[in-house]
Symmetry: D2
Amino acid sequence: MSHGVALIGTGFMGKCHALAWRGVAPVFGGVHPRLEILCDVTQAQADEFAARFGFARGMADWEAAISDPAVDVVSITTPNGLHRPMAEAALRAGKHVWLEKPMALTLADAQAMAALAAAHPRQVTLLGYNYLRAPAFQAALALVQDGRIGTPLAFRGVYDEDYCADPALPWSWRMTHEGGGLGALGDLGCHLVSVMVALMGEVTEVTAMTQIAVPQRPAPDGPRTVENEDSALALIRFASGAQGSFATSRVARGRKCRLQWEVHGSDGTIVFDQENMNELWIHRAGEAGFTRHLTGPDQPDFAAFCPAPGHNFGFNEQKVIEARDLIRAIDGGVPCGPDFAEGVQIERIIHAMARSQGRPVRMEDMKHDAA
Amino acid sequence: MSHGVALIGTGFMGKCHALAWRGVAPVFGGVHPRLEILCDVTQAQADEFAARFGFARGMADWEAAISDPAVDVVSITTPNGLHRPMAEAALRAGKHVWLEKPMALTLADAQAMAALAAAHPRQVTLLGYNYLRAPAFQAALALVQDGRIGTPLAFRGVYDEDYCADPALPWSWRMTHEGGGLGALGDLGCHLVSVMVALMGEVTEVTAMTQIAVPQRPAPDGPRTVENEDSALALIRFASGAQGSFATSRVARGRKCRLQWEVHGSDGTIVFDQENMNELWIHRAGEAGFTRHLTGPDQPDFAAFCPAPGHNFGFNEQKVIEARDLIRAIDGGVPCGPDFAEGVQIERIIHAMARSQGRPVRMEDMKHDAA
Amino acid sequence: MSHGVALIGTGFMGKCHALAWRGVAPVFGGVHPRLEILCDVTQAQADEFAARFGFARGMADWEAAISDPAVDVVSITTPNGLHRPMAEAALRAGKHVWLEKPMALTLADAQAMAALAAAHPRQVTLLGYNYLRAPAFQAALALVQDGRIGTPLAFRGVYDEDYCADPALPWSWRMTHEGGGLGALGDLGCHLVSVMVALMGEVTEVTAMTQIAVPQRPAPDGPRTVENEDSALALIRFASGAQGSFATSRVARGRKCRLQWEVHGSDGTIVFDQENMNELWIHRAGEAGFTRHLTGPDQPDFAAFCPAPGHNFGFNEQKVIEARDLIRAIDGGVPCGPDFAEGVQIERIIHAMARSQGRPVRMEDMKHDAA
Amino acid sequence: MSHGVALIGTGFMGKCHALAWRGVAPVFGGVHPRLEILCDVTQAQADEFAARFGFARGMADWEAAISDPAVDVVSITTPNGLHRPMAEAALRAGKHVWLEKPMALTLADAQAMAALAAAHPRQVTLLGYNYLRAPAFQAALALVQDGRIGTPLAFRGVYDEDYCADPALPWSWRMTHEGGGLGALGDLGCHLVSVMVALMGEVTEVTAMTQIAVPQRPAPDGPRTVENEDSALALIRFASGAQGSFATSRVARGRKCRLQWEVHGSDGTIVFDQENMNELWIHRAGEAGFTRHLTGPDQPDFAAFCPAPGHNFGFNEQKVIEARDLIRAIDGGVPCGPDFAEGVQIERIIHAMARSQGRPVRMEDMKHDAA
């Protein structure tokens, strides 16, 4: 089955989606996206990127793009404030939605979006939690789910970068609640939550502290106040009885994409760091130490990219797998996620962290609270 | 000035102290310990170890050993339950005390010991927090204190081992409150606290969760209950305004001595892992990434052991530095620590963690509470 | 300027070229490949892959494909024995040629191809030495060329894999001189030579030893003899006066893509390992140790793929840069390499190694010898 | 049985021997060295170090020290030029000899020493190849010898440091043939040979190139010529049929003690780097990758130092094991090595490398040549 695609946005994630839509058929075969509409802010830009990205047409009017009859799926890669109106328009137009994270700026927005998605059960929604697609991550997840490290006892997770570490970095709207949501929790923390929930299951309680390391930043008219979080630390209780620690920072000097986690099981331990995303470290009871398992065709989905182990899988290629999962979900009903319903759970967790201020917050209460 | 030494205990730490007392003069020069009495449970054993460890005499009666006039300093390396009576006897006999951690089984005991030490201000007390002596740690500490990574913003600390990971490991008195104190928090956590406080300064609040991963363990008469903690996770507030995460486990499969920590400063980051204790990882603003600084004569105290960089410093050698610090404190009044007063602060922190059960505990309240 | 592309082959490297041709315009912009013909062994397969890879037409007749007027550039990814006839046909048809390595099964073939290329100076030839394109490699090369590590004194290079380590791996034509050329030297060693020559300049002499670790392998009709090299070791003299060591193996258990090298300069050292191709390790005089430089937008070409550092670059993406380089060479005369002339030098070096048998072989003599 | 010890020298290796003699009884028990005489250049220095290192007497006359009836074993840690006269005096005086490497400045000297040792078969000789004693090395050796990685096929060895990398380092007698012997080959290369021969067995042929990276160095009276090697590269043939590569440098910027080697076996690979001497990396056929085996009580001799795994073993502690091995050899006839006979083989190999100049040198010829 062929699927008409509209892609909205041509920035970091826009290009990443474009490469995914271009690569998914060559890599996997058996999928048939038609790259119909590329949507950017002006017609000229849209036309230019349509030509460059291999889309049939450029359009500046995203509402028209979404409602275009040639379009079956909409890739939304615009600034966070546009996620809700675009995703809702797409759902209402009967389209499948592939939306970058975070879902929205507020929890209420995210919940409204999930409610609308629930009302359109035949349309697939998928959020861009791409780190779930790395072959090493998928391999780790399979080990956990198959009980290869016994019962998961503890999770230790970190997602640190340093893109805001320099205090001379100018103030921007990304540093406000309204424009940038929860800061590091929204940019980075939600990715770590997606990974944590996939590995460990349902979260029942969080206790968190947050920090604004650089309270004011230079702006043309003098220093302005940073509103959202530079970093957050949390304790986690899981429904399974396991416990976890959680940390994220956008001011961690020298860290570039340190999405690093460990799962401690009763019979083994798995360790991963996205900065070396082709290495999975596994220890199982009785072994002499941790074994470095390089990404190769023995890990999920890698063989479609390359038949040779140790030939590195790249960040962008995660998105190709994501595109394939989306198409499979549309075609065959193979569930893929996180969809909007699961996305709301992720949002609840980071919002609970933002609210905690050192006190335990039960996830059950977040649900009622925001209902 | 020469100092007569009595060493009580010949186990893991007993041998470690013996090697330190044997090595300190050759390594550093200018120090003059006289190895007078080796104390073990029977006279035969004491004599045997006295000969082997190079002590002049063996004794089975520790009280006599402590009060022996030839003795100026007492090394106490016995099981935790004997720490208080031995340390107090030594203080009362006018001796300097070098005591292995944890100070005591209960916070009340530790506080009583500190009170007694305060009443003997001319006698030096030193607790065996040996990880503070590693050249790489000392180098890191100097970087932090000299402001080389700017203002410390966050601490991330872990101390994981797996010595209790196997559920088939038999029950022992170490797994009871009375015999083993706080479990992983007492065995491992207190070391991590010693490091954290040295790097980050005073702790004002902790919030912790603990876990007993293996609730019952085999005993000759059937399964018995494990009372103390297999693992703990905590959030930390520092007086400086910095925040921290803290984790320790004795059931972390594959971890052997993972005392791993990071200090995030406004201008740089330092990372260390005791399993590779000769590597210090440093990033400072403007550099391309983390630099691996191998232990060498440019780090404190290493040159006395070896003039060549990259020639590994070992675990036992930490204790030689500790012995030198103790002697210097006795001779010249150069303060060294943690002494009993600082040790109580460490104990308060781990006891606060043990009590927290997910609620914030102010360290101020621990002080009042236990006073 | 737009360029019509024919791609011959759909295997490991065929798919890799397809992804490169698909990705090069979205990634870099300003390039305009037209994917005209996909060539495979049967018309059905060719049609299927043309649809999947996004080529306009499928063809089974490679000679027709090459001579097709819509085609400007030919990507050749077929088995090594077909490299010469296809490349020569393409050159004779006036087409630019992008050829996978090794150039050919024999040195004579390679030299003939280079001679033909020399006779078609307006057509670009490019060999698929993709490891030269990794951003970390390009960054390293720039450091060397800019004198940032002073005068290069020594090269240490290894390329190890284990795809033939299992003695139960059946015999195949790849293990014969006729079908598989020089074995590990041809499969892996030539890549390492490409890297070595780029970093260190002209080679004047090699001394090598080779080994067949598994002399016979199972075949349906009984054990058959392996003719070509499982591994090789060599000493290298460079025209600059620098010296080098060189090692390659296809039977190195546990190695997957260990193309690992060091350049020792008078003022610094650079270390790289393709298994962690996003890490470059740099030490410069006066620094405390080696710094880990993660691939990011500060390394050549990465920003076009991703604006964020530490977000891993992948093996396949090297080929996208290669495609861009080829197009730039065609369009603007920006030289790119290794072309066929440089490729012959690489071939001479590995053939010299294969012949050496422990005696020094002067590259000057290889030139005369094979002329 | 008790053994009287004389130690000659108090520098880097002198202190290292002193610590070994002090530590060997506490660590291992069952050994009884008596520290009789400490020998240094003046009586005052000798007395001072005797007191500091715990020896009974200081002496300035090494010949008297060696012939003293209280002395059974002589530790020789003086500059290389004194090795032969001291070792020969000790042998003639009926003493056991523990000699630092390299044996002597010339091969002829080494051979004369070995001949004399052969004439005193009841006296033990031991050369200070301490890297053979690291628990991780011993564990690796056992794996190789027990066939756990199958048949050894190849050795890759490097020993790099950077102590002469700075061209501003002043000229010294260590840079002459007469005073410093073979340079990097003598300082570092012989250690790597000791490791290589232990792991791989007899060497039959070497082919080497050497390099003087800094031909002249500053001296008070103007630049002076460096005579011996800054680096060397070699190819090795082993009697077993295995092949090896070998590299050593004293001008490798950033390398501090990189004695790094790999053994490639038919069924597995072992990798070690002395800069992280507590990590052994092992891959065996069928495993997912390399496993990091931290030094612990499951490796030879470590338990005597520390019962806990992951608690780092140090460089100096290697020498404690060496002392124990020497005593065991004296007491019980347990052979230990390399003795002078084996030491000559090591010397032959590095001298063959120094002579090779790119041509194969058969070890058989070295034997005849120097006989």
